[in-house]
Amino acid sequence: MPLPLRLADLRFGVGIDVVSAGRVSRLISEHPGALEEMFTPTEVAYAATRRMRSRHLAARFAAKEAVLKAFGTGLGARMRWHDVEILNEPLGRPVVHLSGEVEALATRRGVTAVEVSLSHGEDLAFAHALVVSDARASGFPGPSIARRRGGRRCAST
C-alpha cells in the first residue's frame, strides 16, 4: 500500500507563454511543413473548426511552450512539438497529452499532473501551465515549495 502523499513530497513547475496569432499564421503560410511539424492532426482539426483558426493554433503553441517551461527544459534534445498535445474535453476544457521524449521525462520525474489554461485576445494567445511531480517516485528533487538560503530545504508542512 503506497504511503500517503505529503505536500512536502510534491514539486511544482510553472510556465507561461504568449504568442502572436499573426506570427503563427505567417509562419504557417510561409513555410510548408510548419503546420505539420508544430501541431498534431487532432490539434489542426480542432483549430479548423473554429472561427479564428490562427488564434487557436497560437494558443496551442503557447501551451506547448508553457508546459515545456514548467518542466524546466524548453524543447530539449529528442523532443518534438507533438510530444505535448493539447486536446479538449467535450465541454472545452484543455487537457495535455504527453508522448515521446516528454512523456519519458515526465515518467522519470514522477509527474502526476500537467494542467494548462489558455486564453486569447485579438492577436495574442496566452497559456499557463502547471506540472506537479511526486519527488518520491523519481528521486528528482527539483525546486521545492520552500527553500532556505544556502540550498537547504525547509519542510513545507
Binding site: 534534445a77 518534438r80 521525462l105
Partner: protein, 134 residues
Amino acid sequence: MTDEQIWAAVHSAVKEALGVEDDEVTPEATLMDDLGAESIDLLDILFRLERKVGVKIKAADLSAHIQGDIPEGDFGDDDGVVTDAALAQLKRVMPQIDTERLAGTLQAQNVIKLFSVQNLADLVQTRAAAPPAR
C-alpha cells in the same frame, strides 16, 4: 557550401525572421537576449535556413547540439544550475562563453540564451558537411 555562403544564409534568415537591421546581426549577437528571438522565431529561422541551404535542423536538434552527450539528468544539479561537465560541453559548442564567470550560476533553462548567430552558423556548417542519413 563555403563558410561565407553559410554565413550569408544565416545572416539573412535571422534578419528576415526577426525583422532586425543588417548591422545588428553580428556573429557575437545572441539570438534571444541580443536580438529578441523567441521560440517561434527560432522555428522561423530554421525553416528559412532549410529553404536557403537545404539543411533541415529541427528545434530539438538545436537542443541536442547544445547538450551533446550529457544526459538530461546530469546537465543541471538539484537547483537547475549547469554542472561542470555540462559547462565543458557548452564551451565546445559555444566557445565564446566565459565558463569561469558562469560556473555555479548558469541555470540550465538559460543556456539557450547564450546561443549566438555564429554558433548557429557553426551548427549549419556541421550539418551541411555531414553525410546524408541513409
